[in-house]
């Protein structure tokens, strides 16, 4: 019998392309498992809703003041809805996110949240059941609030009237509805850094800085955001966008024509009107309404801090004198002059009742001095809120009265008449159309 050299049967080999694909798939699957494990947060056990009598009254009162300083009710209440019951549609570049019910309702609110669960939500953006929360809820700021303040807020919220209001469904661009992705966002961008006191500054200044950085989250509007919606906090309050409005810089690049002294800033924050500037516009309306109910000492502290940030601004060196170059502006923008005479002069013109009442001239307000026309256009489109706590005229909206081209004419006329700045660059009619679209509620 011949001895055959028998080649051992070779293991079935896959083609190299298939092997690469299989390895990649395995690596991806392992990575996904690791990611899901890393992003998973435990649910915290639900508790029996604590009775309001179990909370210390002074802590509740402190929490009420902090809730005003953080304007919780502004986002967590829908128009016409109950306070803190949620349901407000926050339009973000990533889709619509609805605010949640933070009344102590056991089924639809936070009634079954323990205090540690609440603190974790505020600090890390994780709900009681372990779900990640969208950073439309500014936990990147609230993470810097003190434990004591968060406990006081918990006491306040858990003693509100429970309201049954089931959550709305968010409408986000896919796949952003998949909440574990937020863990990746947090890994990249959530950097809790407790606000440390600056010993060279007064206690009041430090209190203001603590509030601005944490609960009052000014940077949420007044700082720029990157493409993934994370606030760029490294350079401070250099200006940002919110709900179609431009929130101007609150630092040395402030375009304001008048200096923001502590007194002026304090008056503005508490009443929604600075007689040396203008009325609070757009999203600042609800902010100043809330701050008008906050502890005055804390609002003053914020004014001390924010005005100090703008100490290097041009207005601090020399305030721009008020202008009224009516003839030159009418020559450059005759249609704007006609429209102003018929629509605006009744309140804003010299000798108008509102001006005799002491309201600031248009040459004082910051919007006309900003680099772009957005805020001027939005004010014309939407009108203004009434100042807090005083009867008086309010500016009605003109969105139905004027076309985009007419708004552009008036805007250019105002810039020429009331400021010493060059005309705004760009196509103003297109800017008006953008403002109309982006500020629509």
């Amino acid at each position: 019998m011949e001895a055959k050299l028998v080649t051992p049967r070779r293991r079935q080999e896959w083609p190299s392309g298939w092997r690469l694909a299989a390895t990649a798939a395995l690596v991806l699957a392992l990575a996904a498992v690791v990611a899901l494990v890393a992003t998973w947060r435990p649910a915290m056990a639900p508790v029996t809703p604590p009775p309001p009598s179990s909370f210390d009254r002074s802590e509740i009162a402190r929490g009420a003041g902090l809730a005003h300083l953080g304007y919780c009710a502004v986002c967590h209440s829908a128009p016409g809805g109950a306070a803190f019951a949620g349901g407000l549609d926050l339009k973000t570049p990533f889709g619509d996110v609805y605010s949640t019910n933070i009344t102590p309702d056991a089924e639809t609110g936070i009634g079954r949240w323990s205090q540690p669960a609440f603190v974790r939500a505020m600090r890390q953006g994780v709900a009681r059941n372990g779900a990640h929360l969208y950073p439309a809820f500014p936990y990147d700021h609230f993470s810097e609030a003190s434990e004591g303040d968060l406990r006081a807020l918990y006491a306040f919220l858990m003693t509100r009237v429970p309201v049954r209001a089931p959550p709305h469904t968010n409408h986000l661009i896919p796949p952003l509805g998949f909440r574990p992705l937020l863990a990746g966002w947090k890994l990249l961008f959530l950097r809790p850094r407790p606000v440390e006191a600056d010993s060279r500054r007064s206690a009041e200044w430090n209190r203001g800085r603590y509030l601005v950085e944490s609960l009052s989250h000014c940077g949420g509007c007044h700082a720029p955001r990157n493409a993934l919606g994370a606030e760029e906090r490294a350079h401070g309050l250099t200006g940002g966008w919110s709900e179609g409005w431009y929130a101007p810089p609150l630092d040395a690049t402030s375009p304001a024509a008048r200096v923001w002294t502590v007194e002026r800033m304090d008056a503005y924050l508490r009443t929604g009107l600075s007689l040396s500037h203008a009325a609070a516009a757009g999203p600042m309306g609800p902010v100043t309404r809330e701050l008008s109910a906050a502890p005055p000492g804390d609002v003053h502290a914020i004014a001390v801090y924010v005005s100090s940030l703008m100490a290097g601004a041009p207005a601090s060196r020399a305030e721009t004198p008020g202008q009224d170059r009516a003839a030159a502006a009418a020559k450059a923008y005759p249609q704007g002059a006609v429209l102003f005479a018929g629509a605006c002069a009744g309140c804003h013109g010299p000798g108008a009742p509102m001006m005799l009442e002491g309201r600031p001239a248009l040459s004082l307000g910051t919007p006309l001095y900003e680099d772009g026309p957005r805020d001027t256009l939005q004010i014309m489109l939407r009108g203004l809120n009434k100042p807090v706590g005083r009867a008086g005229p309010y500016m009605p909206p003109f969105s139905d009265s004027f076309s985009d081209a007419q708004l552009a004419e008036i805007g250019a006329y105002l810039r020429a008449r009331y400021t010493d700045r060059a005309p705004w660059p760009g196509e103003l009619t297109r800017e008006a159309a953008k403002a109309r679209k982006e500020g629509a509620s």
């Binding site: 016409g80 249609q335 006609v338 429209l339 005479a341 018929g342 629509a343 009744g346 309140c347 009742p353 509102m354 005229p393 309010y394 500016m395 009605p396 003109f398 139905d400 009265s401 004027f402 076309s403 007419q406």
Partner: protein, 173 residues
């Protein structure tokens, strides 16, 4: 000379382009329903419809109107043929001094052309822009709810049941 379309009719007026539409309607066209209440866009007595939207005609310069259709109370109907809103305001006797009423009617007309079934909350928010000093607000709201029923769907969550029983009184020819 400026041309504008008022209640479906093309009109030509000789007025300064900055003149607010309210004065043009009353002085040049003798359409006196719209009233001067404040001249500051605060009270709504001057409310008319421009391109279907309610606006303060005291703050709308003639130059801004262009060819956007303007509608006033006179264009809603006539004494012999009242529109649903007019008939409802009459049936509910919603006027006391009557000064705010034309503005109220035009504001209501805008709402009911936009939606046939407003909610009570929408109705109140929409009408809250116009002021009434006599205090006939409840009758005005009843009138708008009645008009909503006649024009289509009625008001959702109405705080009062809507009456459509009492017919307007017979008018002599």
């Amino acid at each position: 000379m400026t041309t504008l379309i008022v209640n479906g009719v093309r009109q030509t007026v000789d007025a300064d382009p900055a003149t607010p539409l309210l004065y043009v309607l009353r002085n040049d066209l003798e359409l006196n329903a719209a009233k001067f209440g404040c001249g500051l866009g605060q009270c709504g007595a001057c409310t008319v419809l421009v391109d279907g939207q309610p606006v303060f005609s005291c703050l709308l310069p003639l130059a801004a109107v262009a060819n956007r259709p303007v509608r006033t109370v006179e264009g809603l109907g006539s004494p012999d043929r009242l529109s649903p809103v007019q008939a409802a305001f009459e049936a509910e006797q919603a006027a006391q001094c009557g000064y705010c009423i034309p503005g109220m009617m035009m504001r209501a007309q805008a709402l009911l052309e936009r939606t046939t079934r407003p909610t009570e909350a929408e109705l109140r928010t929409h009408m809250s822009v116009n002021l009434c000093r006599c205090g006939t607000h409840m009758r005005i709201l009843r009138a708008v709810r009645r008009a909503a029923v006649v024009m289509g769907g009625g008001v959702q969550n109405a705080t009062e049941p809507v009456s459509t029983l009492a017919a307007p009184p017979e008018r002599s020819a």
